[in-house]
């Protein structure tokens, strides 16, 4: 387990509307210095007497270890519930309690291989920073960004700066090619001879990205978005069935063992319809009359 984590009284310094999302910049001293692409922060919402107790977790969009205000962390928020609406309504200088960085980052390849980065909706948030890290290592990087519609894409302009090429898909055809990211991914992997596909977005997308990557000879590294109560590994709510190097499937915490997993290790067969079952062959799975 990584030990580099801090809890800090953060402060919002910028809140910008970007399409359907809010792009927040927080001063959070100590977090930026420790963070790597793929890690996330857990924010308390509603203030110290809030009736909304559970932390909201966001992958880190970017960090600036030492700016004018001290270390800053950027996140992207889709305001669809009471916690995210509270965050989206924050104004400069409002306090926010920040815990981070949390989770395991994207593993980076030892060799300068080609990589494809796939983002669904605002799931693309951590990928630009990842792209820069990969290109610093000499990797050729292409990005595939997809969403339901143009306003739900995040970071297309930034992607053109961070990557060698960018491919866009939307379900309704309002931007880029009409269809899903998985429709174009195979061709991009083949042409670039990519060794790794990194992806972040909804579960169904991560599953199809894993399948396409596998068929085209690339390893998928996927960052999952499981709902979490704490983000730090104590509540056991964010578990997923993942097969370990010993071949055994366990219900592992996506906040500490993830959020990045090798796609081919995730038991997608157990995940559907908003429910993740415990595979019958998982360690400690219920037996007849059990739990």
């Amino acid at each position: 387990m990584s030990t580099g984590v801090v809890q800090v009284a953060g402060e919002l310094i910028a809140n910008r509307r970007v399409g359907a999302y809010h792009h927040l910049t927080l001063v959070a001293p100590g977090v930026a210095e420790l963070a790597d692409p793929g890690q996330f922060v857990a924010l308390a919402v509603g203030g110290p007497t809030s009736a909304t107790l559970l932390r909201r977790c966001f992958s880190i969009h970017k960090v600036k270890p030492s700016g004018t205000y001290g270390g800053t962390v950027d996140i992207v928020v889709a305001a669809h519930g009471p916690g995210t609406r509270w965050l989206a309504a924050l104004r400069p200088h409002d306090p926010v309690d920040v815990v981070g960085p949390l989770g395991r980052p994207f593993p980076l390849p030892a060799e300068p291989v080609a990589c494809v980065l796939v983002g669904g909706g605002y799931g693309s948030a951590p990928l630009f920073w990842l792209a820069e890290s990969l290109r610093e290592r000499g990797c050729h990087v292409e990005m595939v960004l997809g969403a339901a519609s143009e306003d739900r894409l995040f970071g297309v302009v930034e992607a053109r700066r961070s990557a060698d090429a960018v491919h866009v898909t939307t379900d309704d055809g309002s931007a880029g090619r009409r269809g899903w990211v998985s429709d174009v991914l195979g061709e991009v992997v083949d042409r670039t001879e990519a060794a790794v596909v990194y992806a972040c977005g909804p579960m169904a997308m991560l599953r199809s990205v894993t399948e396409v990557a596998g068929r085209h000879g690339a390893v998928a590294q996927v960052a999952v978005e499981e709902s979490m109560a704490c983000g730090i590994g104590v509540c056991m709510t964010c578990v997923m069935p993942v097969t370990g190097s010993d071949g055994a499937t366990r219900m592992v915490r996506s906040c500490v063992e993830g959020p990045v997993f090798r796609g081919d290790r995730v038991r997608w067969d157990a995940i559907s319809g908003g429910v993740t079952r415990v595979p019958e062959d998982a360690v400690g799975a219920p037996r007849a009359g059990g739990h």
């Binding site: 809030s50 107790l53 109560a229 590994g233 104590v234 709510t237 400690g284 219920p286 739990h291």
Partner: protein, 319 residues
Amino acid sequence: MVDMSTTLAGMRLPNPVLTASGCAANGKELQRFFPVAELGAFVTKTVMRDPRSGRPTPRMAETPSGMLNSIGLQGPGIDAFCTQDLVWLADHGARVLVSVAGNTAEEFGEVVDRLVAGPAWDCVVGVEANISCPNVANRGLVFACDPESSERVVRIVRDRVPEGVPVFAKLTPDVTDIVAIAAAALGAGADGLTMINTLLGIVIDTDLLRPQLAGVTGGLSGPAVRPVAVRAIWQVTAAMRGGRLPTAPVIGVGGVRTGTDALELVAAGAAAVQVGTATFNDPSAPRRVLTELEAEVRRHGFDRFADVVGIAHERMVRP
């Protein structure tokens, strides 16, 4: 200087603030935020005999000032717990209250046997019998809902835990008469009581129009349940003070987020307090509550924590 020490059935702790079972994992995660050895004791996640995967997800639903959880006692099983988790806690100087459970009364006994025989038994300052889990032999009814089942489990656990190490029975408030269950547990040899476990609830997802939890029902916890905890502690403490129950220490748990919250449970009769769901909101909560509770005791002019325990029973205004 306030003397914050507390003595639970002969076991002296430097202070009365503990983690709550299932809200702190087994220590490593929280150690990143404060030294777990600074707590009065660390209460482990309930351990059962065999490894358990727990339930499907979604396992949680947020509720006003609380949450519903349906984890299903996921855990590594007693053997891995003893050789890994408990050894880690011992190495880090923690005093440990181990929460145990079984699918049957006899399984509770097996868990305790292996715990006592394990390499880190010396750091154990008590055993908490989580009798609020389903009894497979009794159609899945939780042990703590039935005085006889509670009694059978507590008797076995008390028999197997060496003398000098106290046994606490953790009770559910989901019963008609919690004093009757407390009487059964104490009659069977429990040295103290932990109150309360979660309350059973259901949340409906109003988009999908189905239960939000994959396991349908879950345990309600958080500040929303605090008055229920205070009530349960009050009723049992009042029965002890009235001579209707043998006197025994009560560990209070339920909705504690601040030192003032903890003080409520203490004034109602709790000799120690566990911090649970608040830890999800603030990983430093258990340590912070200790600092805040000490300030509260001082604010009221006491120099010993022990003098505040149950004080509300003496200050009642009788009409």
